[in-house]
């Protein structure tokens, strides 16, 4: 069973950094282009993110994951190249379709902003075990019940995904069609989802009972199994990320 998420287990300085610091970094850097509204600043943020993916030894995985959105970015260039309201200078024409310079520049800006958002998140996602992130969030004040919900999603999804293939095989052996035209494939939805969803909802009652007998609803403060995740660079990195965001704001206001 593959765990949920993009996390890659490896040894690196970024992996060693505490999750909250990486989360603060990712949020600040992802927002920099939105605040600055400037393509050059976006490129600086992009280079910083790529650098950190190299330090975190996950650059290859990051770029592979980014390739998945390549198709969407291509449609962005085609559509914006054609319909962007500021279009004035024709650049390329393919048959009746004309791509304009301004629209393509606009698409470049939208994609740079999007790639930067994705890479900022990747610095966190590829180097942080999701369970560690939720643990640290609870320590920082996230209600334990919400923490339970997030953590148990991470456990339930792999087990449900594993059951999907078992149910699919079982139903296929009873003659369910999983290939062919859309209507045929659509009909395969209920025989697969039905048993899966209903059994998980019925099993949910047992889980609720198991939690209750272990004091899930008990009042009072909660304690943690693991000691807090401390790192000597935690505050310097958080402050640097925050000042990058403030710098972007100053750039916007001054420019």
């Amino acid at each position: 069973m593959r765990p949920v998420g993009l996390y890659v287990e490896r040894q690196s300085p970024i992996h060693g950094l505490d999750p909250i610091t990486k989360l603060s970094y990712a949020v600040c850097l992802a927002l920099v282009p939105f605040v600055a509204g400037d393509l050059r600043i976006t490129f600086v943020a992009l280079v910083v993110n790529l650098g950190l993916l190299v330090v975190g030894r996950v650059l290859r995985e990051g770029l592979l994951a980014l390739a998945g959105v390549g198709f969407f970015l291509a449609t962005l260039f085609i559509v914006q190249g054609m319909v962007y309201p500021g279009n004035a200078t024709p650049l390329v024409s393919v048959g009746p379709l004309v791509l304009y310079q301004e629209g393509l520049a606009h698409a470049a800006w939208l994609s740079a902003r999007f790639i930067n958002l994705t890479l900022s998140a990747f610095v966190l996602l590829f180097t942080t075990r999701p369970a560690d992130l939720v643990d640290e969030l609870m320590r920082a004040g996230l209600p334990p019940r919400v923490g339970y919900v997030l953590l148990s999603v991470l456990q339930i999804i792999p087990s449900m995904a594993a059951r999907v293939s078992v149910i699919q095989d079982a139903q296929r052996s009873r003659g369910m069609e999983t290939e062919g035209p859309v209507w045929v494939r659509m009909r395969a939805l209920l025989p697969v989802l039905g048993p899966l969803v209903i059994s998980s909802l019925v099993a949910m009652q047992e889980r609720a009972l198991a939690l209750e007998v272990r004091g899930f609803g008990a009042p009072g403060p909660r304690t943690f199994y693991r000691p807090p995740w401390q790192h000597r660079l935690a505050w310097p990195v958080r402050l640097a990320a925050l000042s990058a965001l403030l710098g972007a704001l100053v750039w916007r206001l001054a420019g």
């Binding site: 999701p130 449900m160 999983t178 494939r185 209750e212």
Partner: protein, 207 residues
């Protein structure tokens, strides 16, 4: 209440028990699996909110909204950061599905179609401003974007083209999502549902 007559649940009533709380992660997992199965069957739909709708049917609009919000948060923190932007859409889907259920719109298939249309409209109204902000109006869906391009080239205003771009994708997707959730809801054992306040969503009434 000695006679056992329960007070009727209102639209917003929520019974906050451990079971309700456990329903939320299961709902999120169903969202994930729905999307996974839709991709495995190569269907041209997302089907990534069946669990949110089902949680809303079972436990009401607030639980639906919470399931939607946490769904996009956990998804954004593990797989796809862009889904964080669309968390309001998921909240809207959960709220509207829960309200429609409590108003009695999942008592028959015909009514469930109406509920599906309402959920689709809410999802579209909430999503398209985000699309305009992030992507200058596109959705990333080939059919929707082709319509968007054709409309914009004919001089249709950007907001309207973007609204229709999102609507052509959301309409079939959300109607089917609600119908699937409706089918699953009807198949749930009564013993399970009796632990929630169903309001007017109550099914198979013996009266």
């Amino acid at each position: 209440m000695a006679t056992g007559a329960q007070p009727r649940a209102g639209v917003w009533t929520t019974r906050w028990t451990t079971l309700t709380l456990v329903l939320i992660p299961v709902g999120i997992a169903i969202n994930f699996v729905g999307k996974f199965v839709a991709q495995a069957l190569k269907l041209p739909l997302w089907l990534d909110s069946i669990g949110t709708v089902l949680a809303a049917f079972i436990a009401g609009p607030w639980v639906g909204a919470l399931t939607g919000a946490l769904n996009n948060i956990i998804y954004g923190l593990t797989v796809d950061p862009v889904s964080l932007w669309y968390f309001i859409t998921s909240v809207g889907i959960g709220l509207s599905a829960g309200i429609m259920a409590r108003l009695g719109f999942i008592r028959s298939t015909a009514r469930a179609v109406i509920a599906g249309l309402v959920v689709a409209l809410v999802a579209t109204v909430v999503s398209f401003p985000i699309n305009i902000y992030l992507w200058s109006g596109q959705t990333g869906n080939v059919w929707g974007d082709a319509l968007f391009t054709a409309l914009t080239l004919r001089g249709v205003p950007l907001w309207l083209a973007s609204f229709l771009d999102e609507l052509v994708v959301d309409l079939p997707d959300k109607v089917l999502t609600v119908l699937i959730a409706f089918g699953l809801f009807r198949a749930l054992p009564r013993r399970l549902l009796s632990q929630f306040d169903l309001g007017d969503a109550g099914h198979r009434r013996t009266a």
